[in-house]
């Protein structure tokens, strides 16, 4: 999807952006929507938090967290892609929104459709976390669980999109949906004062976010909106070992993405064995000089706790994958102490508490007496 970059380069975009509130629509000129959004007017504008305590533990002096665990209304970066794609769908005359989802997209589509009184049908793998199912059904969406992997769900949706006149945000509206991801990275550049970091680490499921981080920053460079860098920002991709088709290709230096038949990971939001944008994500990583890491379930849980304990940010398992991958990349020397690093935290920990329940101690129970308190503190 292209824009009239010549015309945009002549406009004083930074000044225009600065006049608008900090949310995803601040960058309207770089989004494929004419007019006002139908839904999600306040989506985005999430904090870019300096993370010195996490940085000290990672061994990197300058670390920031782009925190979409607090993106409203459904606490993940999927609110961005959904606000854009539903707004486009309404413009096309659709009254029924649908998607294939590993959870966060389901929540966002269900809420977005409800806010406009539209029908919603959401397809999920049957193994999805309970919290993500509840946080979809509560909006009145029809949820259909498929006995299979996400890739089976996705395939059914590709075929169903042929048959039903529904707006599948990540199938027949996917080009619009994907452009919404750009706003996450545009905000990072904006919040850093129109500079880019040396490194960014992002989680990969279908690979779209990594591809769009690259695209959005390339657009900013093309439009002269960011300071030129001596060396491009290195984009690093993070996946769990139980489902790492893109990371494996990057690490092996292969162009071919070999799909994973049965993903096995606690990071269910990243359990996409046949990533549609894997090729584009791997290419963006390679061209940036970045790399990838695949991390274990134990590393994911430890990293979720590390982020929460050092910075007060509770992220879902996918965020644990990002932080754990950053640890790995620092250990490997791909990220150096004196370089700057942005970590992409894209979802909320309250949606994926199961892996932590097994790890955290049960709180001690005492009577309401000082003597009992004194005995344990």
């Amino acid at each position: 999807m292209d824009y009239d970059y010549d015309a945009l380069a002549r406009a004083d975009l930074r000044a225009r952006f600065a006049e608008r509130p900090l949310n995803m629509w601040r960058y309207a000129e770089l989004l494929p929507l004419a007019g006002e959004p139908a839904v999600g007017r306040a989506v985005g504008g999430t904090p870019l938090l300096p993370a010195p305590r996490l940085g000290a533990r990672l061994g990197v002096d300058q670390v920031w967290i782009k925190n979409d665990a607090v993106c409203h209304p459904t606490l993940s970066f999927k609110d961005r892609v959904v606000s854009l794609s539903i707004s486009v769908a309404v413009g096309f005359g659709f009254d029924h929104i649908a998607c294939a989802s590993t959870g966060n997209l389901a929540n966002a589509v269900a809420a977005g459709a409800a806010a406009l009184g539209l029908k919603a049908t959401i397809f999920i793998p049957r193994t999805l976390e309970g919290a993500k199912i509840v946080a979809t059904q509560v909006y009145g969406a029809r949820v259909i669980a498929i006995d299979g992997t996400y890739d089976d769900v996705n395939r059914l949706c590709a075929e169903a999109a042929d048959r039903y006149r529904w707006a599948f945000v990540n199938v027949n509206l996917r080009p619009y949906y994907a452009e919404g991801s750009k706003t996450y990275a545009l905000e990072i550049a904006d919040q850093l004062g129109w500079r880019l970091p040396d490194h960014v680490v992002a989680p990969m499921a279908g690979g779209s976010l990594v591809a769009k981080i690259d695209k959005s920053w390339s657009e900013l460079a093309k439009l002269g909106l960011i300071e030129e860098r001596a060396r491009p920002t290195r984009i690093h991709g993070a996946q769990p070992v139980g489902c790492s088709p893109i990371a494996d290709a990057v690490i092996a230096g292969r162009e071919l993405i070999v799909p994973v038949k049965e993903p096995r990971t606690i990071a269910r939001s990243l359990a996409i064995g046949n990533p549609a944008d894997g090729f584009y994500a791997a290419r963006a990583i390679r061209q940036s000089g970045g790399s990838a890491a695949a991390v274990t379930d134990a590393e994911i849980v430890a990293a979720m706790r590390l982020l929460a304990e050092t910075e007060g940010v509770f992220t879902e398992t996918a965020g644990g994958v990002t932080v754990a991958a950053a640890q790995r990349l620092v250990a490997q020397g791909a990220i150096q102490r004196d370089e700057s690093l942005v970590l992409c935290i894209t979802g909320q920990g309250l949606k994926t508490t199961d892996p932590l329940l097994a790890e955290l101690p049960r709180p001690p129970v005492i009577g309401p007496r000082l003597s009992e308190l004194a005995a344990i503190v």
Binding site: E159, A276, D277, F279
Partner: protein, 91 residues
């Protein structure tokens, strides 16, 4: 003959048909026979080297042929083959 499910973007090559039948003992043979009946369709499914294109998924009875024997995956008369484009975000 196996039944082949055709996705919307390719139906202009199959006279609008959603399903067609084609003979062949393997997925590759079925595609070759499809090409004979509907010229131009193979180039949409396979690249110049004859391999299945990066953004096309082919399923033999619900199984991705990349987990079977790719184009050499054997087929029986009653089998169903689905051609499903991978929907990527694009450039």
């Amino acid at each position: 003959m196996a039944t082949i499910r055709i996705p919307t973007p390719l139906r202009k090559l199959t006279e609008g048909r959603e399903e067609v039948a084609a003979a062949g003992a393997t997925v590759g043979e079925v595609i070759a026979n499809l090409e004979a009946a509907y010229p131009g369709i193979k180039a949409r499914i396979c690249d110049d080297s004859g391999a299945v294109r990066k953004f096309v998924n082919i399923f033999a009875n619900d199984e991705d042929i990349r987990f079977l024997k790719n184009l050499d995956t054997p087929l029986k008369e009653s089998d169903e083959v689905s051609i499903v484009p991978a929907i990527a975000g694009g450039e």
